[in-house]
């Protein structure tokens, strides 16, 4: 939901080098059915946290839809799932 400029500031401060995308109109968030209405800043809609591992043919191979938004996928879980991708 952050604009590209807001994300760019965050990336520069944090030193992230991976691809950061902006979805201010919640387009992708809606397509993946992750819209959480009214829970963002100032009552805006926000995404519920989720991670998807997609292979090179576009098929979902692993996903993590947390039941508690305090709990997210750990790096080890994602790396294990990624190793299974050939």
């Amino acid at each position: 939901m952050d604009s590209p400029e807001e994300s760019r500031d965050l990336c520069q401060k944090a030193g992230y080098t991976f691809t950061f995308l902006s979805d201010p109109k919640l387009n992708a968030i809606s397509q993946y059915d992750l819209v959480h209405k009214g829970q963002g800043e100032n009552g805006r809609d926000i995404a519920r946290p989720a991670e998807f591992l997609i292979d090179s043919s576009g098929t979902v191979r692993w996903r993590m839809l947390t039941e508690n938004y305090w709990v997210r996928a750990r790096p080890e879980q994602i790396l294990d799932a990624a190793k299974a991708l050939r």
């Binding site: 902006s22 829970q39 926000i46 998807f52 292979d55 090179s56 996903r63 938004y69 750990r74 991708l85």
Partner: protein, 141 residues
Amino acid sequence: MWAGFVLSIFAFLSYPLIFVNWAVTRDFPWANLFFFVVAAGLLFIGVRRAFAPNRRRVSKIVAAIVATLSALLLGMFIFTAFVAARWLPASAGAPQVGQAAPEFNLVDITGRAASLSGLRSQPINGKPAKGVLLIFYRGYW
């Protein structure tokens, strides 16, 4: 008793300010619950002292209020951690394992267009990508 009250406030605030930074204390807030338990012990001792027969009425009233406030802090913390954090939409439409991931067209931080099919086929260090890890990070409480 006052130490117990201050510790309750610390137990409550230290989650977003301190313990959220490590997964082990973030996923299950055992550090905060530990501080709440110690605070409860201190409050119990303090409140019992305030209710001793030779103490003035004012200290009993203050003790009751402080203990109630601390209990409210604990209640709010437990509610937020274990109940409110689970209030998530059903997301039945989210792609399952084995389904095709929906195509998207978004913009990266430099303003360039990025699509799922584009990211999937983009080589990394000259080698074809094995896949795409898509993270919806929410980015807010």
